[in-house]
Symmetry: D2
Subunit: 247 residues, 4 copies
Amino acid sequence: MIRVGVLGAKGKVGRAICEAVEAAPDLELVAQVDAGDRIETFVDSRTEVVVDFTSPAVVMPNLEFLVANGIHAVVGTTGFDEERLATVRGWLQSKPEVGVLIAPNFAIGAVLSMRFAAQAARFFDSVEVIELHHPNKVDAPSGTAYRTAALIAEARAAAGRGPSPDATTDELDGARGADVDGVRVHSVRLAGLVAHQEVLLGTQGETLTIRHDSIDRNSFAPGVLLGVREIGARPGLTVGIDPLLDL
Amino acid sequence: MIRVGVLGAKGKVGRAICEAVEAAPDLELVAQVDAGDRIETFVDSRTEVVVDFTSPAVVMPNLEFLVANGIHAVVGTTGFDEERLATVRGWLQSKPEVGVLIAPNFAIGAVLSMRFAAQAARFFDSVEVIELHHPNKVDAPSGTAYRTAALIAEARAAAGRGPSPDATTDELDGARGADVDGVRVHSVRLAGLVAHQEVLLGTQGETLTIRHDSIDRNSFAPGVLLGVREIGARPGLTVGIDPLLDL
Amino acid sequence: MIRVGVLGAKGKVGRAICEAVEAAPDLELVAQVDAGDRIETFVDSRTEVVVDFTSPAVVMPNLEFLVANGIHAVVGTTGFDEERLATVRGWLQSKPEVGVLIAPNFAIGAVLSMRFAAQAARFFDSVEVIELHHPNKVDAPSGTAYRTAALIAEARAAAGRGPSPDATTDELDGARGADVDGVRVHSVRLAGLVAHQEVLLGTQGETLTIRHDSIDRNSFAPGVLLGVREIGARPGLTVGIDPLLDL
Amino acid sequence: MIRVGVLGAKGKVGRAICEAVEAAPDLELVAQVDAGDRIETFVDSRTEVVVDFTSPAVVMPNLEFLVANGIHAVVGTTGFDEERLATVRGWLQSKPEVGVLIAPNFAIGAVLSMRFAAQAARFFDSVEVIELHHPNKVDAPSGTAYRTAALIAEARAAAGRGPSPDATTDELDGARGADVDGVRVHSVRLAGLVAHQEVLLGTQGETLTIRHDSIDRNSFAPGVLLGVREIGARPGLTVGIDPLLDL
């Protein structure tokens, strides 16, 4: 049994993580801390791994405390730029046995689909991305689609692949989507959807489609639990859950 | 057994139609005519229905001959504008028992999917169209996607439906597709594809997707045979195969 | 503004309907009744249409009261067999101006997809059904898949269509799915899904796919509101929302 | 320019490979051999790599000749059991610089989708396979679906994963598909399809779908060309194209 604590335990995400930890037979939820609570609780309860989904404003001192006290951390809080990552690496130098995982996306399916798309991209003549979201989303394409297209473009460039073939000469403005690093990206906004993405790859006579559907905000939970289980064996800073997937 | 003839019998499409007629147990292929052959062959062989997939340059005199001789016609040749249709109606006035079917698209699946999309459109908050084709296609969107979007827009207007909801404020140029009568249309061009279209309709908590895949130029054959079987019972001019579908 | 009341207003479904009515600009929520409340409230508040999602045990006297008082009803409560329907028809004879809608499924997308599948079935050589649900479902196939297959089988029989072609001679037990009236039905059970169904229709060179995805228990709301808006113009008993769709 | 020869050059597959080689800017087609032709042609023409799509009855002596003469081989001919593979390894011992690739499936998309499915399988609670083929196929499931399910089962077992959750208690015979090593496999047979497969993986709130569509018998060509380009740098026997994909 791994002894797990949660920071930001009363937030919507925090509550979902508490539930997921309690439901896992190999994990024990030993401490819940939110704004106003004493962070020392994690030490008192001999917490081994803390999950932190709080806010950019408070995450740094909390993380410093955890590292200083030899507690591993799994962090989903946003706002980690290069400067902040360097600061965390600095703290870890004096505590080389501690592991910290900081990830922008814990949805395993999303991470796998980006990875597979990038791996497959160099074998196909053509590749395009369709992302589909609920109509309240303000940005198009989605951040995930941008990253996916960038990874695909990078893989194709490394393999010496030119652009996807396209004979279009007569286009109604916008029909062929947006151009992200040479990869066409189409953004659908539809009532009844949540967050979905499809990467289409094609060559002579065959196509490969990698589709990810996320219909629930809890889709981060399996990725967080994977992090909790693995971080103890991965001292130092790990960015993104990809390395944990051992692909 | 219906006695069937084919005009343009040596062309690629014509040959496919001859094969389809020969394979049908209720149809008999009694005459094949191509450039240089005598059109009177259809009279000599007592042909009941002629299928015409020729060219705009030769279709009109052939059609006039067929009507004058009391032979029904199923026509896939392109180039029929209002003026040509009026001319055909004129010929049919003196031969009220003859049926002529002129259709721009014999793929039953394509026709049905347009029809269903238009029927469903008024019940959903959102609707978008994705069409996917081989990369040698020069126009985007496809003609079918234009027609589909126009039918959807018409149905929504008739039902007093406003535009699909869309909170996008931050768009990379082209991401949200082309605007056809207020309906967003996305055009994918990918090696390994032939001709495909997806209409996505969504409302609170549910979506309906109508997808048509055509992977073979022979996908017109079942629609042509339907026309051959039905046109004898439909005197006068019929435009498009929709009326034959009895929906 | 239509004056709407809700019976079973404190239940999960009832609360969702109250919210949907309040959010609709052309409807006014004027009365909410649950177990223990006076049903006369609907008369006092001059309610025009009552939505009833209660239980088979209490629905009949409530419905009798509504009809007797000239109030239209939209009923999603289950358990209506032929006998109960006959009883309701009897009440309506003395109140010919009242409309009652009783429907087993208010998800418009589900109803449309069954309808379209049945309409398309006679034009395709092959048809199969795949239904996909969360892994807690106890029955396979789903009730909707049974009904869909039955409607398809009926349409094919009426058109003189034989069984879908199938050359399988070497089958691992169960691979080809279940046989419902001669239509193959495949049931997928997968974590991360809710309720989904795909009807695949195919003929030479083309396929048509009609897919319905329901990811939210609120997907009945648009169908209920449609019923509320239409039932005033449809005196007598209407079973199922199909007639309201004017297809 | 790699100098390429083709064995079985007049067969349907052989002709398609000749065309693909001629269309590739970095490959030169220098020899075509079929039944009755002299195999020494490959030596005379200084062929570097020979592609062999012939028959189990003739492939072994041809392959022995090629290895003996220092010519690399890319072999799509079927019928290689462990005994035949051992024989080929024996020949290669005295010619350690020669590379031989023997692969049952050259469709890159099919190979990648099996690989990705196996990699992803251990991260998801549920996994099922749907394979869809033309109605003339005699076996169900397809060979590819069997292999895919077996790879998935192996990966799940290695990760200590139990069976996919399934609460079904009331099943119409066959609805839940066939059981291949504990993985459910569904086989659809539909006119208008060619060869398609979908692996569905699901966990809380998210699903990942890996779909492969093959609509053309030429979908082996890109994989064969990949083999031709890579085999020179891979002395010894390589079984399957997976190692060439460098994943």
